[in-house]
């Protein structure tokens, strides 16, 4: 069933009787060519691109709970490709391009909204770093714009220019960055994949891998064994737990990241703002809520909730840069599990087990990567070779010394 304005009108006039479930609720089959573990944004996107680009139709996505219930359902919705390093920038730029055509590709309005992202600059050293980054972005075919303090004052007059502990000295803008209605991404990919025959199997937990002679034959699940030619894992914060079932230790730690939304407010913020001297970034949703966040709590956690010090730290950053939000109220805070990798960059790679593939280590930046991650993982699963934009995302880069460390913090995941 195609969605359209016409269809919405027709249904409205005929009592909405014609809407069908957005995706089926199939029983698992005995065997698939490809099984993807994880019904989050990345897993569902992988399934979609496997079916739509790589001609794979005997594909299942296995999800232990409900699809879209992980980080794609609880993030700050930002998309951007403002990366510095060559291992990352082409990948994220590819992702941004996929976002730009997503709605037409999926026939689902995920409200991709390129209202721009602005990273504020507060010191000369920061400016040097952002100039280097902006140049890297442009040299990789993305867009970047260095703004003066005066230009920022014009665009965002309500920022704290006059009483700031760390004055705003400029900014690096990416106009093509923006936000997306996050839940709709999961639903849109699920619906599109389902329409091409992908089985989305919810409430089905993987309990183990069946490996014989170094080859993965399928997965044991709470609903029985499911055979698979290839198995792809895309379970973000649960990566270590899942891959331990295959005997693997990963270069990943799971950490909690909190995010926040205010009560609905009349529009004040057109784009995304990142405060460069505190831990705070913010955008405003189409419903009017200020959606904001900051640093991870900083300790290993699977608890999906954080603590007050980081809440306070983030709000301090908010008040420092936007002192007019003091009387706006924080409505809800939540925590998600981040698969923090050892250099802050992801892994999309084979494993030492034949037929078993891994996608993870997205840190707190997985949402914006969703389309490219799905695409690149589909490519790897279908062709058994890395996608051209994801060649650096190898497991063995730590062994060989080819880390992709955007922040330069080294092998301490909570600092990325």
């Amino acid at each position: 069933m195609r969605y359209s304005g016409f269809k919405v009108i027709k249904e409205a006039l005929t009592g909405h009787k014609g809407w069908l479930p957005a995706w089926r609720d199939p029983e698992p089959k005995a065997h698939y060519d490809i099984v993807i573990i994880g019904g989050g944004g990345h897993g569902l996107a992988t399934a979609h691109y496997l079916a739509s680009v790589y001609g794979q139709h005997r594909v299942a996505v296995i999800e232990k709970g409900w699809i879209g219930g992980g980080n794609v359902g609880r993030n700050t919705t930002i998309i951007r490709s403002n990366y510095l390093l060559d291992g990352n920038e082409p990948f994220y730029e590819f992702s941004l391009k996929l976002w730009e055509g997503l709605e037409q590709d999926l026939n689902y309005n995920a409200m991709v909204s390129q209202r721009g992202i602005m990273n504020l600059i507060h010191s000369d050293a920061q400016r040097d770093a952002f100039v280097r980054r902006g140049n890297a972005m442009i040299l990789n075919g993305a867009d970047a714009e260095l703004l003066s303090e005066a230009q920022i004052r014009q665009e965002y007059p309500f920022l704290n220019f006059d009483d700031a502990r760390f004055p705003i000295k400029g900014g690096l803008a990416q106009r093509r960055g923006g936000t997306v209605r996050h839940d709709a991404v999961a639903w849109g990919y699920a619906r599109a994949a389902d329409s091409r025959g992908v089985d989305i199997i919810q409430n089905c937990e993987v309990t183990g891998f069946r490996v014989e002679n170094g080859k993965c034959l399928g997965v044991e699940t709470s609903r029985g064994f499911i055979g698979a030619g290839r198995v792809g894992c895309a379970v973000a914060g649960n990566s270590s737990r899942l891959m331990a079932k295959a005997g693997m230790r990963l270069p990943i730690e799971s950490h909690v990241l909190q995010a926040f939304v205010s009560e609905g407010l009349k529009p004040v913020l057109p784009g995304v703002i990142t405060f460069g001297a505190g831990h705070f970034y913010v955008s405003q949703s189409d419903k009017g809520g200020l959606v904001f966040g900051g640093d991870i709590d900083g300790y290993n956690s699977y608890a999906q909730r954080g603590n007050l010090p980081v809440v306070e730290d983030v709000c301090e950053g908010g008040m420092a840069i936007m002192p007019m939000i003091g009387r706006a109220r924080l409505l809800r805070m939540w925590g998600g599990i981040m698969d923090m990798s050892m250099d802050g960059s992801p892994i999309i790679d084979r494993t030492h087990i034949d037929g078993l593939y891994f996608n993870g280590g997205w840190c707190y930046g997985g949402f914006k990567a969703t389309p490219a991650s799905g695409y690149a993982f589909a490519h790897l699963l279908a062709r058994d070779e890395p996608h051209e934009t994801a060649t650096a995302y190898r497991f063995d880069r730590f062994r060989t010394g080819h880390m992709i460390d955007e922040k330069g913090m080294g092998n301490q995941p909570n600092l990325h």
């Binding site: 479930p21 060559d86 991709v112 902006g134 700031a164 502990r165 009349k266 008040m319 080819h402 080294g410």
Partner: protein
């Protein structure tokens, strides 16, 4: 205007009249009123508009769970959007505006949406606005965004202050209703340190809203008497107007105390609100319960409210939403409202009870087995249409309808650590269960014990258990103990535009559509329909939605699940969570001992981390910073300059194993460094990347003074402690940061020795022979002041760094400037410091960027192979040692007047300009007054072998392309003769 709907009694002070205005109209009320109760007393039911359809709305509740009556309170910079009229305390001069309407609350043009509601169903926007592709952002979304939101921000900085504090207690009791008050009494009498917090400004909870007696007193009087007794106990702290917003780990609770929100103007010096971090050994949650509505057609008109809230308005606030009211209930509690309002003289049009066997009344008509089928009234309720048990319909005229569908325990705080409530069939409600936050117990209505007696007893029991009190339990005060009769009745069959989430306009129809389209789990339901995502977090709406979904899915309610309640319990001002950390106080400001001297000299300061450092010292007539900086550089290089380098991290390393320890943390060797000598050291992280550089001076066999860069001081100290405590716990070595203990100054330039000789006490020989390059010593200056002297140079000149105890820093600076007059001594700031270090090719923060190795920095050979040090092994990985690895180089523009930009990328002169052909990048750049052109440092592929090559420096983001020549990074004195002079 008179208060037409004012009843007798109530807990308001009728002796005082308060004036207020709403949407520009003037009204009066009394102390004790909320904005909502005062408006109702003035016969105002219409207080807001809903989010999507802009339906007219009045208060649904009388408390913090209110979804509808939310307004913009106050004006100017203190304008406070989305404020619940039901909890806003009335004060004289209060001004409030309705929100989300245009041009007025009574006539809202956007109410047109309601006509099109059939098109604007749940999730409609996911299915349309996709063609043409560009239209979403250009046309559709701007329209949607314009309509978004409820209240508006003032766009001015919040003028109020906020504060934070810590409190500790043996027992935290959350909620001061019957359970909480009785719990506090028993705990207080036991001598325990108790905090009793309640969100309301009047403690007592439902006792204030009911006519029940407790221990032969009116409930409200018993509450007042109990509060009085508690306030006399020194070990009990009463915190009214305090909302416990979250239950965090290990018994830490966040609580917001409203200090001045109930006052017209804040007394000076008083914060508006305080965020308390309460550390509680035990907690008893007595948060009560929230009445739940019944969904029926057009159940959202102003005047339709929860029955118990209607009772609260009558009993506590002596007001009624209308003079003629009806009740719609499925339980006995609804009848109480009818009785109480009847007793106050309000006409009860009818009690519509879904139960065929509902109790009848002498005072008013009870329609048994009846249901509300529909309602009428554009801006407020006028009629309800009742479907009677016999199949006939009846129209009842009334201005208000109280609705009661039973009660839901307030389990929110029990879920903040991801505990899930459990379904209790006999209550048809979720109650706390499963895993509670550690050290928390729950009592009273919050655990499903709804009778007053039950609540009193349950509070007592919980406290006795929490505090481990022995002995006979004290008698529970006499109170009603009516059995709970709560059977599920969620919605009237056949209803469709029946509101569940009144603020977000989620109706029964939307839940049905959500089910039809496969969004059936509770999380999908919530996200697809936005049910429960309004400012009330679904306190009155979630259960109805869940119940309907369960029925459609053929499952039980617990099978469908419950959404996770998250902090905060009620929305919390961002300003409160930030406290005082805003504006200039956002971060602490660190000043060096000579800061005020620099200020006197007119220095321009720059933020360096939390430090403020002098950036340059403009002289009269200098109009551009470059003039000042160039002068400072040239003066230093030609005679002598002084720079405050106190901000460098300083770490004292002592112990018999101090040298062994430094040998481990630095990649180069320190074991053989002689006493009285200083050595440059490079520290690696264990992954082989450079962490920091600095010097270590051996002042004694067992004492070193290590310096770090300003930026990395804390991290290096932490790293060294890790090595000491975790990797070498047996070693005899101690560390202490002495950054704040010593003021340190670089004295640089050919005349630096001469200047220092004037202040260094005569017994210390600082001649080139007596104190050669890299020497260090404990000395005295100015006739006996202890000092440390290091002959080290960052500028490339003959230079020293001299350190004195911090309290002498200012005096030393003044002394150096005075004694230096004969050499035309110059104070120089961080800019000149930066220029000189670039001229000398010294790496700094821009080069030590967390991705560079010793090899990249041109110090590959420094990494000792003769010993093990942190990082030396992983630095050997092939990826860090590729033949064309980036190497630090110097860069000069081919055309002397061209600009060199830090952050520019290096490309070969010919060939494409793109990432694939990137040769490296510029890390630092400055104008060199010594060379008369800009110069730069950068990392270049195979840079060690490309001296003399011409490259293109491209910086598209600053529109720059220039040709640069690769040169030695040592622009000045490459042989290092000056430092040894």
């Amino acid at each position: 205007m008179t208060q037409n709907n004012r009843l007798n009694g109530g807990q308001i002070d009728r002796n005082t009249t308060l004036n207020f205005n709403f949407d520009g109209k003037k009204y009066t009320g009394h102390p004790g009123d909320t904005l909502a109760s005062a408006l109702l007393a003035n016969n105002v039911r219409l207080m807001g508009r809903s989010f999507k359809y802009h339906r007219p709305r009045g208060p649904l509740t009388a408390g913090s769970e209110e979804p509808n009556a939310i307004v913009e309170l106050r004006s100017g910079a203190r304008q406070e959007p989305n404020t619940r009229a039901t909890t806003a305390e009335l004060f004289d001069g209060l001004a409030a505006k309705s929100q989300n309407r245009w041009p007025s609350l009574a006539f809202d043009a956007m109410a047109i949406n309601d006509r099109f509601s059939n098109f604007l169903t749940a999730g409609f926007y996911y299915k349309t606005f996709m063609w043409p592709a560009a239209f979403w952002e250009k046309i559709y979304e701007p329209i949607i965004r314009k309509a978004a939101g409820l209240g508006s921000l003032s766009m001015q900085a919040d003028p109020d202050e906020y504060d934070k504090g810590f409190r500790h207690c043996d027992l935290l009791i959350i909620g001061a209703g019957p359970a909480g008050l009785n719990a506090a009494l028993i705990a207080g009498r036991s001598g325990a340190e108790v905090i009793l917090a309640d969100e309301d400004f009047r403690m007592g909870g439902r006792l204030n809203a009911e006519t029940f007696a407790v221990a032969d007193l009116a409930g409200a009087d018993w509450a007042a008497q109990t509060v009085a007794e508690l306030s006399a106990m020194p070990n009990v702290r009463l915190m009214p107007r305090t909302t416990v917003i979250g239950a965090f780990d290990h018994g830490i609770y966040g609580a917001v105390e409203r200090i001045t929100d109930h006052l017209a103007t804040s007394p000076t010096g008083k914060p508006r609100q305080i965020l308390w971090r309460i550390y509680a050994k035990q907690t008893v949650l007595c948060a009560g319960a929230t009445e739940r509505p019944i969904a029926f057609e057009n159940n959202d008109r102003p005047g339709i409210m929860l029955a118990a809230s209607m009772r609260s308005y009558a009993n506590r606030w002596a007001t009624t939403p209308a003079q003629r009211v009806a009740i719609f209930t499925n339980n006995d509690d609804g009848h109480r409202t009818a009785q109480d309002l009847h007793a106050k003289g309000v006409k009860i049009a009818a009690v519509i009870d879904t139960r065929p066997d509902a109790p009848s009344s002498m005072d008013y008509e009870v329609l048994q087995g009846a249901q509300v089928a529909d309602t009428k009234g554009r801006l407020g309720l006028t009629f309800v249409e009742v479907a009677r048990a016999d199949g006939t319909n009846r129209t009842i005229e009334c201005g208000a309808l109280g609705v009661s569908g039973g009660w839901n325990p307030n389990v929110q705080l029990t879920c903040h650590q991801r505990g899930r409530p459990i379904w209790k069939e006999e209550l048809a409600a979720f109650v706390p269960g499963g895993t509670l936050p550690p050290y928390m117990s729950v009592a009273g209505a919050a655990v499903g014990t709804f009778s007053t007696h039950g609540a009193l007893k349950s509070g007592a029991d919980a406290v006795r258990k929490a505090l481990g009190l022995k002995g006979r339990a004290p008698a529970v005060p006499q109170a009603e103990d009516a059995p709970v009769n709560q059977t599920p009745f969620w919605y009237v069959t056949g209803c469709s535009r029946a509101w569940l989430d009144q603020q977000n306009d989620v109706t029964v129809k939307d839940v049905k559509l959500s089910h039809q389209e496969g969004f059936r789990s509770v999380e999908h339901l919530k996200r697809y329909t936005t049910l429960g995502m309004a400012t009330d977090q679904g306190k009155t709406s979630n259960m109805g939605g869940l119940a309907i979904m369960a029925e459609l899915a053929g499952k039980s309610i617990p099978e469908v699940g419950t959404t996770i309640f998250r902090p905060p319990y009620t929305p919390t001002a961002i300003g409160t969570l930030a406290g005082r950390m805003r504006g200039k106080e956002f971060h602490p400001t660190r000043l060096t001992p000579s800061h005020f001297w620099a200020k006197e000299r007119g220095a321009v300061f720059v933020e360096v981390g939390n430090w403020l450092r002098a950036q340059w010292f403009p002289l009269p007539g200098e109009t551009h910073w470059r003039q000042s900086v160039d002068r400072e550089v040239l003066a230093t290089r030609s005679s002598v300059g002084v720079c405050d380098c106190t901000t460098l991290g300083k770490i004292d390393v002592q112990g018999t194993d101090a040298a062994t320890f430094l040998n481990k943390v630095y990649c180069n060797g320190f074991a053989k460094l002689a006493v009285g000598k200083t050595r440059y050291g490079l520290m690696l992280r264990e992954d082989g990347i450079a962490l920091d550089d600095g010097t270590a001076a051996r002042l004694a066999e067992d004492q070193f003074v290590v310096t770090t860069t300003t930026a990395n001081a804390a991290r290096v100290y932490q790293h060294m402690e890790f090595v000491r405590q975790c990797l070498m716990p047996q070693a005899d070595v101690q560390l202490i940061s002495t950054t704040e203990a010593w003021a340190q100054y670089a004295v640089a330039g050919p005349n630096s020795r001469k200047l220092l000789q004037k202040i260094v006490d005569a017994e210390f020989d600082i001649s080139n022979e007596g104190f050669p390059f890299m020497a260090c010593a404990n000395i005295t200056v100015c006739g006996g002041l202890r000092a440390r002297l290091f002959r080290i140079s960052f500028s490339g000149e003959l230079a020293f760094e001299i350190a004195v105890p911090s309290r002498y820093g200012d005096a030393l600076m003044r002394k150096l400037m005075a004694e230096g007059e004969e050499f035309d001594v110059t104070a120089y700031g961080t800019e000149a410091l930066g220029v000189m270090r670039i001229e000398k090719g010294h790496a700094a923060g821009n080069e030590l960027n967390g991705t560079t190795t010793a090899l990249n920095l041109g110090m590959g050979r420094m990494v000792s192979k003769a010993k093990d040090s942190i990082g030396s092994k992983l630095a050997e990985r092939p990826g860090l040692n590729e033949p064309d690895a980036l190497m630090q180089v110097g860069l000069r523009p081919v055309n002397k007047d061209d600009k060199v930009t830090a952050g520019g990328h290096l490309m070969n002169t010919n060939g494409p300009v793109d990432a694939a052909h990137d040769q490296g990048y510029v890390t630092s750049a400055a104008f060199s007054p010594t060379l008369g052109s800009m110069i730069g440092l950068g990392f270049l592929k195979d840079g060690g072998n490309r001296n003399g090559e011409t490259l293109r420096l491209v910086s598209p983001v600053t529109n720059l392309t220039v040709e640069v020549e690769v040169v030695s990074a040592h622009f000045v004195d490459p042989e290092g003769e000056r430092v040894r002079a």
